[in-house]
């Protein structure tokens, strides 16, 4: 048998797409430089970069309280969490770059308001209890989504998710611990915790995106195994997990229709205000402008640091060249 005599492979683009679908159906991972449908590449670039932007913008609502944390323990935990979010953004920008996109281009899109990031970060953090609510609910919702994404079909994205999930669990515990202390504290503390829950509950549910019926791109994402569970499935999972946690805190979830449904084996819950979600996604949330301003400022004011680092590197390289020339 002459192994060097292979029949020539001529495939129509349709053939390649079918072969790709079969490959993905077999739970195989797609790696950088593997052939992939252009639409697969594009949708992943969009999703991963939005995820990265969310991490970085997500640093802002919590950074607000670093200077005002009530104790050193709270401060180191919050600082470490916010630092982690920066790290998560970096893992995700790296994953996006494996798809052949320039990071600077992604950042420009964010700074120009062309790129989206998770709507949840457009809400303000007026009280310390918000740090508890965010860690518990927002990171909790992110964990539900990210655990699912550990099984996404694109290798670099899946690996980034595994790393992120390991780090994310302290984020949620840090938040829940704050809620525990507040809800078992003075009446004022408990009221502050309840107020934070009242403000963060519904926006956290909106993090999972529109209902499946309203989400046209989801079907293709699920077919390509980018997404492994639907928006509604994940949202239900999050609610089922979180309601007992709220009961333990002795706090009330602001949903009069929330009740356990024995037949379904899940909690029934009230209608989400999708108009609010649409407005926030469109740029009309309470803090959209503020968040974008902060990112632009950081980019502008940090430029000298990036240039200085380059100048320093250049100088060091010249020095090394001179030393070896002399020696």
């Amino acid at each position: 048998m002459n192994l060097t005599q292979q029949p020539p492979i001529t495939m129509e683009p349709i053939g390649l797409e079918t072969r790709f679908q079969t490959y993905v159906d077999g739970e195989n991972k797609v790696e950088p430089k593997d052939w992939m449908p252009e639409a697969y590449r594009k949708t992943l670039i969009r999703q991963i970069s939005q995820h990265a932007h969310s991490e970085v913008v997500g640093m802002l609502p919590e950074a607000n309280w670093i200077g005002r944390a009530p104790s050193l323990r709270r401060k180191v935990a919050l600082l470490a969490k916010v630092q982690d979010e920066a790290g998560h953004g970096l893992y995700l920008y790296s994953a996006a770059e494996t798809l052949g996109v320039d990071r600077r281009e992604l950042l420009e899109d964010l700074l120009e308001g062309k790129a989206k990031y998770s709507s949840i970060f457009n809400y303000p953090t007026p009280s310390w209890a918000d740090m508890g609510a965010i860690g518990w609910l927002v990171d909790g919702a992110a964990i539900a989504n990210q655990v699912m994404l550990c099984r996404t079909s694109y290798g670099p994205y899946a690996r980034a998710m595994v790393k992120i999930c390991k780090e994310e669990s302290f984020h949620q515990r840090q938040g829940y611990e704050i809620m525990l202390y507040l809800s078992k504290g003075t009446p004022d503390q408990k009221a502050m915790a309840q107020d934070a829950l009242n403000r963060w509950w519904w926006p956290s549910l909106m993090m999972f995106g529109p209902n499946d019926a309203e989400s046209p791109n989801s079907a293709q994402s699920i077919r390509w195994k980018i997404k492994r569970k639907s928006n509604d499935e994940l949202r239900q999972e999050f609610i089922d997990k979180t309601v007992p946690q709220a009961e333990f805190l002795g706090l009330r979830i602001p949903d009069p229709e929330l009740r356990w449904n024995e037949e379904r084996g899940h909690y029934d819950f009230g209608p989400i205000n999708w108009e609010e979600f649409k407005q926030v996604v469109a740029g009309n949330g309470p803090c959209n402008r503020e968040r974008l301003e902060a990112r632009r400022k950081a980019d502008e004011e940090g430029r000298w640091v990036r240039e200085a680092a380059n100048a320093y590197a250049h100088k060091q390289a010249q020095r090394r060249a001179q030393t070896s020339a002399v020696a």
Binding site: L3, Y91, S94, A95, R159, R303, A309, N310, A313, K315
Partner: protein, 97 residues
């Protein structure tokens, strides 16, 4: 390299988690030079004591085999079963070999 530009190039990062193990690829980052790439890698990839040694390599220095040449490159090994110990028939009485 232009001293006044604020673009940093991409580096691939490899971490050895402990002596005895190899360096493993963990991701990439941007940095102006190798020294700063190591410092950045320490901050981005070892916040939880993930490693005791870091390698950084400019991404452009890495050559990878082409995915569409996978068959040509790797199938020749697939039918050489005689490279594996199970191909060989040794009676049990001989003991461990």
């Amino acid at each position: 390299m232009e001293p006044h530009n604020d673009n940093w190039k991409i580096w691939e990062v490899f971490i050895r988690s402990k002596n005895g193990l190899s360096h493993k690829h963990v991701g990439s980052l941007h940095a102006p030079d190798a020294e700063m790439a190591i410092k950045n890698a320490r901050d981005v990839y070892t916040r939880r004591s993930e490693g005791i040694s870091i390698w950084v390599v400019p991404s452009e220095a890495i050559t990878s085999s082409a995915p569409d040449e996978k068959d040509e490159l790797f199938t020749p090994a697939d039918d050489k079963v005689y490279r594996h110990p199970t191909f060989y028939d040794i009676p049990d009485e001989v003991g461990h070999i």
